[in-house]
């Protein structure tokens, strides 16, 4: 099929015009740097003081705050439950780090577990669509619920069981939805997001602000003067399964 020079130029011209038109439209909806005082850090981390955490037996304030802030559905069937932060007995939270006689002080105690926002996250490595990724500037492992195809490969990859899948429509299980944050839909995976939407508005994570004992300390692990780092210098902090090389950003002070 022959194409004349005139036709070629016409086509290229139209193509160029189309591209420029698209650029012009994008410019209309273009973005500018942030004006609000967002919280920033090089490497967000959470330090949980287990001694403070177990002061009040049965306390679930951090969990309740997260559930409200993020419209977490309260699903009765444990097979389909969705949880971003929850309590787990010490024996199963640190399953192979206990011995028969050591750490009897924590036997049976509930430990708050959440996504560790690993520095080297296996879930990010396996996601086929980059629906989950690690934010380079502050280390938060993010979720894009618009892109997730629900393959659950990330759930298989996570060594900590931090991720939940929406096996059904979550809305019926949300008692009073918080309009400030979207719900999710069936068929996508979700997990703790370190309250990145609150950080962008200059606030701290919901769980941290809700703890009556200030047992949760959120800070920049890359800043030696941050309170989180000071605590880690003063006391010994456990990570979950550090030998896997995932580099968790959540520490538990014993």
């Amino acid at each position: 099929m022959k194409i004349t020079r005139k036709d070629f130029l016409l086509c290229s011209g139209l193509g160029l015009a189309a591209v420029l038109a698209k650029r012009a439209v994008s410019a209309v909806s273009g973005s500018v740097g942030t004006a609000a005082p967002a919280k920033a850090a090089k490497h967000w981390g959470l330090v949980i003081d287990l001694q403070k955490c177990r002061k009040e037996a049965g306390c679930v304030d951090c969990i309740k705050a997260c559930n409200v802030a993020h419209n977490i559905p309260q699903i009765q069937d444990p097979a389909h439950e969705v949880k971003w932060i929850w309590n787990q007995p010490f024996e199963s939270a640190f399953a192979f780090e206990q011995t028969d006689y050591a750490r009897q002080a924590y036997a049976g105690h509930p430990i708050p577990l959440l996504c560790n926002h690993c520095a080297n996250p296996p879930c990010v490595r396996v996601c086929p669509t980059q629906a989950t990724w690690k934010r380079e500037d502050d280390g938060i492992v993010m979720m894009d619920w618009h892109r997730c195809i629900g393959c659950r490969y990330c759930m298989a990859a996570c060594p900590y069981g931090s991720r939940s899948f929406n096996w059904q429509d979550p809305r019926p299980a949300i008692a009073s939805p918080n309009p400030d944050f979207p719900t999710r839909t069936k068929g996508v995976v979700e997990k703790c997001n370190f309250c990145e939407e609150r950080l962008a508005r200059g606030r701290g994570p919901a769980c941290v602000e809700a703890c009556p004992e200030n047992a949760l300390v959120f800070g920049d692990l890359a800043d030696p003067d941050a309170e989180a780092r000071k605590l880690l210098r003063a006391r010994f902090g456990l990570q979950r399964e550090p030998e896997l090389g995932t580099g968790p950003s959540v520490y538990y002070l014993v």
Partner: protein, 133 residues
């Protein structure tokens, strides 16, 4: 051709059916009225010009979505210099188009738009149910 009359008749019927959308509306008595959308009471200026919003508000929203979720860029400077928060619920719905059913849905059902399933996740809670910021 032996079956000329039948073939011509069938051809006419086919052409009639094929061009149905072109002539049906003109001959029927009732003329379709434009959707009766309720505009916001106070605000007269949208985040972008009206003509653009009419044609391409989905493009704007998808752009906002990518910018907020993937790039953490939450501020939008509109063509008139005003800065908005890139959020369908917080900016569009809570500040101006407070009644989705009387604004968004009216045009969508008129135009037969059912594609975007944004509402499966994003809230359309009216202003009265606003929680603490």
């Amino acid at each position: 051709m032996r079956d000329k009359p039948q073939i011509l008749a069938a051809l006419l019927v086919f052409v009639g059916l094929f061009t149905f959308p072109l002539w049906h509306g003109r001959t029927s008595k009732a003329s379709p009225t434009a959707p009766d959308i309720k505009l916001p009471a106070q605000e007269k200026q949208c985040v972008a010009p009206l003509s653009y919003m009419r044609n391409s508000h989905m493009e704007l929203l998808v752009n906002w979505r990518e910018e907020v979720v993937r790039n953490d860029q939450r501020q939008f400077t509109a063509y008139n210099g005003k800065v908005y928060d890139k959020s369908l619920t917080r900016t569009c719905l809570m500040q101006c188009h407070t009644n989705k059913a009387e604004f968004c849905d009216r045009c969508h059902s008129y135009a037969g738009v059912s594609g975007p399933y944004c509402w499966e996740c994003h809230n359309e809670a009216p202003l009265t149910a606003r929680s603490k910021p």
